[in-house]
């Protein structure tokens, strides 16, 4: 299980659901700069899309290794794609072929003497920050379940490494109760290819940088006093063994598997780590 390499004949899929509700307009600290959470998540998502494209690039072009979906959920129960032309799902080859707006990004570099230097560099931007309205997370997960059900049903994907769904949010769903959220999460996690079940990774990002966080918790970390953290834990997938090494390295010494694919009060840096681990740890030809 979870041993299939990603190839053109054994493609996989990555789905990102991004909370675009009003609370995402709150500011947080990222790389030394104050930005809204929506800006941070958009920047990190663009970085992940860039990484996925470049990981698929070979001398004969960008190979068709995976399908990608990036949706936001916000406003009055609206769920829609953030990718070009509003496409629900797009292959990495198609995404790479599209013209992408370039933005200028200021990066902060620490110098050996402890000082910092700022540089402006170009960076592609497929998605842009959005923050308005409510948090229709249930509807987003429900629609993602339909998308992934069809993806897994496709005979061409029967032996593939199963899709990975990242749900990035800073709050609670406004369109369901706890049982409904557990139910739709269970539905997603029950979808499967011959290589394993769909992975659902719930990433709750912190309202501020000072909150104590947990990410990829082991079983002994799961006894949360916080009701919502416990709910997210229950809704998330146990991480397969193939990710253990990367998770242990990110969490630090002493971390023992099995780990759960969730975070609570994650920082932007932990969000990057979780997306990286969930997307590029899988062996690609």
């Amino acid at each position: 299980m979870y041993t299939q390499s990603i190839t053109r004949t054994h493609r996989t899929a990555f789905v990102l659901l991004i909370d675009g509700s009003g609370s995402m307009a709150e500011e947080t600290l990222f790389r030394g700069k104050r930005m809204t959470k929506a800006e941070v998540v958009a920047s990190i998502t663009n970085g992940m899309l860039f990484e996925l494209i470049e990981r698929a690039r070979r001398n004969d072009g960008v190979r068709d290794y995976y399908d990608i979906a990036v949706w936001t959920y916000s406003r009055n129960d609206e769920v829609y794609s953030l990718l070009p032309d509003g496409r629900q799902m797009i292959s990495v080859t198609e995404l790479a072929a599209r013209e992408v707006p370039m933005r200028r990004e200021i990066i902060e570099c620490r110098m050996p003497d402890g000082s910092t230097a700022l540089r402006e560099i170009p960076a592609p931007a497929w998605v842009f920050p959005e923050a308005a309205g409510q948090t229709p997370m249930h509807q987003a997960l429900d629609q993602a379940a339909e998308l992934l059900e069809a993806w897994c049903r496709n005979p061409a994907h029967a032996e593939s490494f199963p899709p990975t769904l990242f749900n990035i949010t800073d709050g609670e769903a406004t369109d369901c109760d706890e049982e409904e959220l557990r139910s739709v999460s269970e539905r997603i996690r029950s979808l499967r290819t011959c290589d394993g079940n769909v992975l659902l990774i719930n990433i709750h990002i912190a309202p501020s940088a000072t909150q104590q966080s947990v990410f990829f918790p082991a079983e002994e970390e799961a006894d949360y006093p916080n009701r919502y953290a416990k709910l997210l834990y229950d809704c998330s997938s146990p991480m397969p063994e193939v990710f253990n090494e990367a998770i242990r390295e990110a969490k630090g010494p002493g971390a023992m598997p099995p780990f759960r694919g969730m975070s609570y009060n994650a920082s932007a840096e932990q969000l990057i780590a979780m997306l990286n681990i969930g997307s590029i740890s899988v062996k690609t030809e």
Binding site: G47, F50, P155
Partner: protein, 324 residues
């Protein structure tokens, strides 16, 4: 933990802040101002300019990648040969930070890129006998060095003066040079195939095309009497005398094979004939033309259909499995 390709990209854009010995290097940038990256199974690579020369700088994508080339790099460094280009590991060359802000240093590999032309260009410029002799000489030399490249193919051969120099030693090993025998055979066949005009094109190439096609941003090779060129206005085609045959209005276009070429406009991809007329209109996501089978696989809304050489649809749009 190894750095991401995004980290490598940022380092290439800020060499003075990210590199040690290569602090004054400059990455070769694409039109969007980003380094032109390529990756192999274990490395991401980018061409740089440093100390007046061209180099291939590679970053490992797995923790075992550098270890796998250490022995090769060390042996090459001790060899006194001009059949291999300098290839070495720069220990701790790239400074980077983990997502949690921890400073790390990453080894990189650096390989000198000699001045010369690609294998493909050499096919057009040099007589087949000379290229075959050069392949023979290279094979003999690598045998003498007990060196197996293990990934010899056109992209990894560079024509320098009157010989081929192999590039990219990420898979190379000392010992068992016979491992490269099948690759050398395939390269010889490629030279012979190209030398036989009946198998490549019905227009004989009797001149050196590279010196004729000035005034373009980029030129491809002569194929069936036409050269695909890129101008400010887009891609188009000129004839062997550099006269415009199909105006450069495409967003992208491929070489002609058997009288057909794939071309892309703002509205999508299609297939054109030698006059530039659309055989398949440019409304599709992907056009995959196979000149050997004379068929065309076309994708729309993620579904594939087969068209024939004359642009007639042969199958309904369906699942990807419909495509061979």
């Amino acid at each position: 933990m190894t750095p991401t390709i995004q980290t490598f990209t940022r380092a290439l854009l800020t060499p003075d802040l990210s590199f040690s010995r290569l602090a004054d290097a400059r990455a070769v940038l694409g039109p969007e101002g980003l380094p032109q990256l390529m990756r192999t199974t274990r490395f991401a690579e980018s061409e740089i300019r440093w100390q007046g020369h061209r180099w291939l700088l590679s970053m490992p994508l797995s923790s075992s990648a550098i270890a796998s080339v250490e022995h090769t790099a060390s042996r090459i460094g001790r060899l006194n040969t001009d059949w291999l280009t300098p290839y070495r590991i720069l220990t701790g060359e790239m400074r980077w930070y983990t997502p949690s802000g921890e400073e790390r240093h990453c080894d990189l590999t650096l390989e000198h890129l000699p001045e010369g032309i690609s294998f493909e260009e050499a096919l057009h410029r040099e007589p087949a006998e000379r290229l075959l002799a050069a392949l023979e000489a290279l094979q003999e030399a690598l045998r003498g060095l007990d060196f197996a490249h293990n990934n010899l193919r056109p992209r990894n051969l560079w024509w320098v003066g009157d010989r081929f120099i192999p590039l990219r030693y990420h898979d190379a090993r000392f010992g068992h040079p016979e491992n490269d025998d099948p690759a050398f055979e395939a390269l010889r066949l490629e030279v012979l195939r190209h030398a036989d005009p009946m198998r490549v094109s019905d227009v004989e190439i009797t001149y050196n095309p590279l010196c004729k096609f000035s005034g373009h941003l980029w030129t491809s090779q002569l194929s069936e009497g036409l050269v695909c060129v890129e101008d400010e206005s887009g891609y188009g085609y000129v004839d062997a005398e550099n006269r415009v045959v199909i105006p450069a209005t495409f967003r992208w276009a491929s070489d002609f094979h058997e009288g057909r070429a794939e071309a892309e406009t703002e509205t999508g991809m299609g297939l054109i004939d030698r006059q530039g007329a659309w055989i398949i209109p440019p409304v599709y996501e992907i056009i995959d033309y196979d000149p050997i089978e004379s068929n065309v696989f076309v994708r729309k809304d993620g579904l594939w259909a087969e068209f024939d050489y004359l642009g007639r649809q042969q199958s309904e749009f369906g699942e990807r499995s419909a495509r061979p």
